[in-house]
């Protein structure tokens, strides 16, 4: 943690510092046709502006969550397991951030995935937790396979026809330590590169829970809240965005890829926000909000502003971890996640309430809180690129609409949980703040949620972002470049908060009339657009059907062959068993019979065959 901070601070003090050290792990000699230089798989670390930013997030949030866990998990008998898995996760995440080539990146990527699986299934006695863990693992695996295919394509491409320098000799290493980076692909690259870009997008979508692989993240809330805060909000899910960012900076996307990324990001930002609007579970509301915010980051990367996306990742990590930890504090105090049972917690939990409020303001994009700067930056960045493709428009508007929804749903949660006079469910225990180890991280993260956005005004932080942005020809956008745009987005945010207050403020509970046409919309939203049902159906019918077929083949064709052979050999050897009498003279007889057989072969059969062959 201290080391990470030092590196990040050092990077900020002298931007543009690159440290790249590596060694060859495995060298395969090449063949002249395909890989003339052979294939070197290297392991190395690369510290540059991109990784420094992430390193700061991972270590600071990781440390605070670990501190908070002391209070949150203190009664849990799985505590050693919890800390072991959390530490493994942090190590893997640090490794991922510091990797200097895609293959190494992929290894750590898988490692954080498996840690996520362990930690979602931390309460493995609960069937819902176990199945959520499995779901998360399988869904992200789809993305992982696509990602790996993408790596293969890049590798093939760059080790055969790539430009000279670091690339040609080794398709895996994505940096040779010089700045600014020059993406080697841009505009309308070849079809192969477009496909590779789409594969990378698939991998990122799996890890960052983007549509249509978003289903796992809300279910991942079965894990401890601290895990949700660290892994499923601040760090691991951001790895997908980070992957897109490094790919766009080091390799580059074709314009088709960019459009696809913008589409996925913009749509997800809106789509996930709608689901958060109706959900009664405090953690899941925040989870949908995470998906939505990740959508913003993906949108930014797609529009060509990788560093703007990472800037939002940076601020988001703090305020989203804050929201989760505050929610965890509530859950710790009263033992329920149902918003409709809470209420009036503002009085008994002042620190938590204030922390959640700050997180909510940051999320809603109200200045001067962190979310405002980065979200506005993204909207401004996409706005500046609207001319490059007509299809950017609808996704820009969707992202804009999501601003309103975001403000509404997070304040709906805040009003439901904290405003009013008393809890709605009188059976709940009396709420009280957690121990100091839980309050301190909340306070620190609150401070970050307020000021992290202002970092952009530090010249060195700007330089940090600029350096990583590379020579794409598009400078990163800073702050409210377009005042009208900011005005509209803040207006939407305030309107969302106002609507939330009107419907849910002061302990009010808004009940949608039974005959309202919105009821059916609500139902669809509550069922998450029936995606889970559809996936289950596909899983059950299609995959199970295929598996049944495969099982049949396995059982009767493959196993049948093996069993048949086994039966033949079995009966033969049963016959031969009788020859084992144990009597020495019998064995001597066999030896002599064998010897005679050899003589017969050598002296009679062989000359006969030889004469035949010679004669024929």
């Amino acid at each position: 943690m201290v080391l990470g901070l030092l590196i990040a601070v050092g990077e900020m003090l002298s931007p543009g510092t690159y440290v790249n050290s590596q060694f060859t792990w495995l060298h395969l000699a090449g063949s002249p046709g395909t890989f003339p230089n052979g294939v070197s798989l290297v392991v190395g670390t690369l510290v540059d502006p991109l990784s420094a930013l992430l390193l700061l997030v991972v270590t600071v949030v990781g440390f605070l969550v670990m501190l908070y866990s002391i209070g949150y998990m203190h009664q849990d008998r799985g505590l050693p397991r919890y800390y072991a898995e959390l530490s493994l996760f942090l190590a893997a995440m640090t490794g991922l951030v510091l990797s200097n080539n895609l293959l190494e990146f992929f290894l750590f990527w898988e490692l954080v995935g498996v840690c996520s699986y362990f930690l979602i299934g931390f309460y493995y006695e609960k069937p819902s937790a176990a199945s959520a863990a499995k779901e998360a693992f399988l869904v992200t695996r789809i993305g992982d396979v696509l990602f790996l295919l993408g790596i293969f394509i890049y590798f093939y491409h760059f080790s055969t026809v790539g430009p000279s320098g670091g690339w040609a000799a080794n398709g895996f290493v994505f940096a040779n330590g010089t700045a600014p980076y020059l993406p080697v692909v841009s505009g309308s690259g070849s079809t192969l590169l477009t496909v590779a870009g789409l594969m990378i997008l698939g991998g990122a979508a799996g890890k960052s829970a983007q549509f249509p692989l978003h289903v796992w993240l809300p279910d991942a809330m079965e894990g401890p809240t601290t895990v949700s805060a660290l892994i499923h909000a601040a760090t691991m899910v951001a790895a997908g965005v980070y992957l897109l960012a490094i790919t766009s900076v080091f390799i580059g996307f074709t314009s088709t890829d960019q459009l696809a990324i913008v589409a996925i990001g913009g749509f997800t930002a809106f789509f996930a926000a709608t689901m958060a609007v109706v959900h009664p579970d405090i953690k899941r509301v925040i989870a949908y909000s995470t998906i939505s915010q990740l959508g913003y980051m993906v949108l930014a990367v797609g529009a060509g502003f990788a560093m703007v996306g990472l800037y939002h990742l940076f601020t988001h990590a703090f305020f989203k971890a804050l929201l989760f930890l505050a929610a965890g504090s509530v859950i710790h105090a009263i033992g329920t996640q149902d918003l409709f049972k809470m209420g009036g917690l503002r009085k008994s939990m002042r620190v938590t309430s204030a922390a959640f409020l700050i997180g909510g303001l940051a999320l809603a994009g109200i200045p001067p809180f962190a979310g405002f700067w980065s979200k506005d930056d993204i909207l401004g960045a996409v706005y500046s690129q609207l001319g490059s493709h007509p299809l950017y428009w609808p996704f820009f508007l969707l992202a804009f609409a999501a601003v309103f929804l975001t403000a509404y749903y997070i304040f709906r949660a805040w009003f439901l949980a904290f405003s009013g006079d008393h809890t709605r469910d009188p059976t709940l225990p009396h709420a009280h703040e957690g121990p100091w180890v839980m309050q301190v991280p909340l306070v620190i993260l609150s401070a970050f949620a307020v000021v992290a956005g202002l970092f952009i005004f530090l010249p060195n932080f700007q330089a940090l972002l600029l350096n990583g942005a590379g020579a794409t020809g598009i400078p990163p956008v800073y702050g409210p470049t377009d005042l009208a745009l900011s005005g509209i987005s803040v207006g939407l945010g305030v309107a969302g908060i106002g609507l939330a207050y009107w419907l849910w403020g002061n302990g009010r509970v808004y009940a949608l009339p039974e005959d309202s046409p919105l009821q059916s919309v609500r139902k669809v939203l509550l069922h998450r657009y029936y995606f889970k049902v559809a996936y289950d159906w596909v899983g059950l019918r299609l995959v199970y059907g295929i598996s049944r077929g495969a099982d049949f083949v396995d059982r009767y064709v493959i196993d049948g062959t093996v069993r048949g052979l086994e039966r033949v050999f079995g009966s033969v050897s049963n016959g031969l068993r009788r020859a084992q009498t144990g009597a020495v003279s019998d064995y001597a007889g066999y030896v002599i019979a064998g010897l005679l057989g050899v003589f017969v072969l050598l002296l009679i059969v062989a000359p006969y065959l030889l004469s035949k062959m010679g004669g024929g």
């Binding site: 084992q580 144990g582 009597a583 020495v584 003279s585 001597a588 002599i592």
Partner: protein
Amino acid sequence: MTGLPVADLLVLSGALLAVGIFGLLTRRNFILILIAVEVAMNATILNFVYFAAFAPTAAGLSGQAIAVVLIGFAATEVAVGLAIVLALNRIKGTINVAQATELRE
């Protein structure tokens, strides 16, 4: 080279081998089996010595050398065999090989 004709020698050594193998297969007494093996082996040694006489000096010498080595082998073999006989007798109280069938499956 005078004396025994080749055909007579082959008949002699063939007979020795046959006697040896016959004894090996039919005897049940371990010591008699060892003796039968010795007889069969001596057929081989006889062949080596006899045909060595026809060969040029160097090769002939090596034929005789092999015969001497084989005699040494026979001695070691008997030593090992007799050790087994003693052990067998101690365990089973008999040296009848028909009763030593512990290695049966």
